[in-house]
């Protein structure tokens, strides 16, 4: 009987541990956060590229100006 109880308690503990993962809502929230971070990443990246492109164009114009 004791053995059975021991087995039961052990299994119950394992199950309890396994069921303590993040819930669906938490996962969804995490997902949204990640997507937001990634979107921000993209935004920063694209802005930086635009700036670099404009700077290059400006350099080109300045070179023309100096060449004249």
């Amino acid at each position: 009987m004791k053995k059975s109880m021991f087995v039961f308690m052990a299994v119950a503990s394992v199950l309890l541990g396994l069921s303590c993962g993040p819930s669906a809502a938490e996962q969804e929230k995490a997902k949204q956060e990640i997507l937001q971070i990634e979107a921000t990443h993209q935004e920063v990246d694209s802005t930086e590229k635009e700036v670099a492109k404009t700077a290059q164009e400006l350099d080109s114009l300045l070179q023309q100006l100096n060449a004249q």
Binding site: M1, K3, S4, V7, F8, V11, V14, L15, L18, S19, G21, P22, S23, A24, E26, Q27, K29, A30, K31, E33, I34, L35, Q36, I37, E38, A39, T40, H41, Q42, E43, V44, D45, T47, E48, E50, V51, A52, T54, A55, E57, L58, L61, L62, Q64, L65, N66, Q68
Partner: protein, 299 residues
């Protein structure tokens, strides 16, 4: 008495097994729900019923995803490819209980050649464990216009837009996502970010780290460009002075003066544009910092 005790013990063991399978399936089910279209639109936990009769256990497990009804097997529903776009409709293994049967396969039930439809690193063997089927995989099924490993299999050809992987469109089929060789958003093979469980942890960390790096680089870049703008303004000013001097000189070529004036005008426009972009970029950087910080606080 002995028999009673043994029965109780057997029953407990059976119950624990059933509950463990239930928990496992639930966890796997939770990790899904990112798919599109015919792919994995589920994410609901497997329904498992356990019946115990004097030590004998009968476990019936079926998923609520797709059409298949699986009995007596392990439901492998871990595959979750994040990032990238699946081109074409990935054939989804019928055995996995998700999506529609692969038209390219022989037979749509049981031992049919179900499509891989997964982010499995070992496509040819993904269905073997649970169902003992052949699962040869759909090697470029015509019905799905798929490539042998890429499009048709849900191995996304990710757009390398976000580095980490943005859209979650690659949920397809069943299989173990570990070791997936999908060309994910960051183009890495076997990236663990593509596993379902990492969506809220490893992937979040990676996203934060990458964004931090990008933000830091962008900040430096914007500061440099601010100096660039100042230098450019000085150069334009000097050019204007030079043009004024030339205009006073009757011998100066008017065509050259006109050209210079035009270039100066364009350069001024460009400088203003650059200045605005830098300011916008700074705002974006600030926003990104806030997002990263708030995410870090939550986690």
């Amino acid at each position: 008495m002995k028999y009673v005790l043994k029965s109780i013990q057997g029953g407990l063991l059976a119950l624990s097994m059933g509950a463990m399978i239930s928990t496992s399936a639930f966890a796997q089910g939770n990790s899904q729900g990112h798919g599109k279209g015919n792919q994995n639109t589920g994410g609901k936990p497997a329904v498992i019923s356990t019946t115990t009769t004097q030590g004998k256990t009968e476990i019936k497990a079926g998923t609520t995803q797709g059409k298949a009804d699986i009995k007596g097997g392990t439901v492998q529903v871990k595959a979750d490819i994040k990032g990238g776009t699946v081109q074409g409709k990935p054939p989804v293994s019928v055995l996995s209980g998700q999506g529609k049967p692969d038209n390219g396969g022989k037979g749509s039930h049981g031992e049919g050649k179900g499509g891989k439809g997964s982010g499995n690193g070992k496509p040819e063997s993904h269905s073997e464990g649970a169902h003992g089927s052949k699962a040869e995989g759909n090697k470029g099924s015509k019905s799905h216009e798929g490539a042998p490993h890429g499009e048709a299999n849900g191995h996304d050809k990710g757009k390398e837009e976000h580095g980490v992987g943005n859209a979650v469109k690659g949920d397809a089929g069943s299989a173990d996502a570990d070791g997936s060789h999908g060309k994910g958003a960051d183009g890495s093979h076997g990236n663990k970010e593509n596993t379902a469980n990492d969506f809220g942890q490893a992937r979040a960390e990676a996203a934060r780290a990458k964004t931090k790096t990008v933000v830091a680089t962008a900040e430096t870049h914007f500061s440099t460009e601010e100096q660039h703008v100042l230098t450019a303004k000085d150069q334009i000013k000097a050019a204007k002075t030079q043009v004024e001097v030339m205009q006073k000189d009757p011998k100066a070529d008017k065509a050259v003066i006109a050209t210079k004036l035009e270039i100066i005008r364009q350069a001024e426009l460009k400088v203003n544009q650059l200045d605005q972009q830098i300011q916008a970029g700074k705002a974006v950087v600030q926003k990104a910092k806030t997002v990263i910080e708030s995410a870090a606080k939550i986690n």
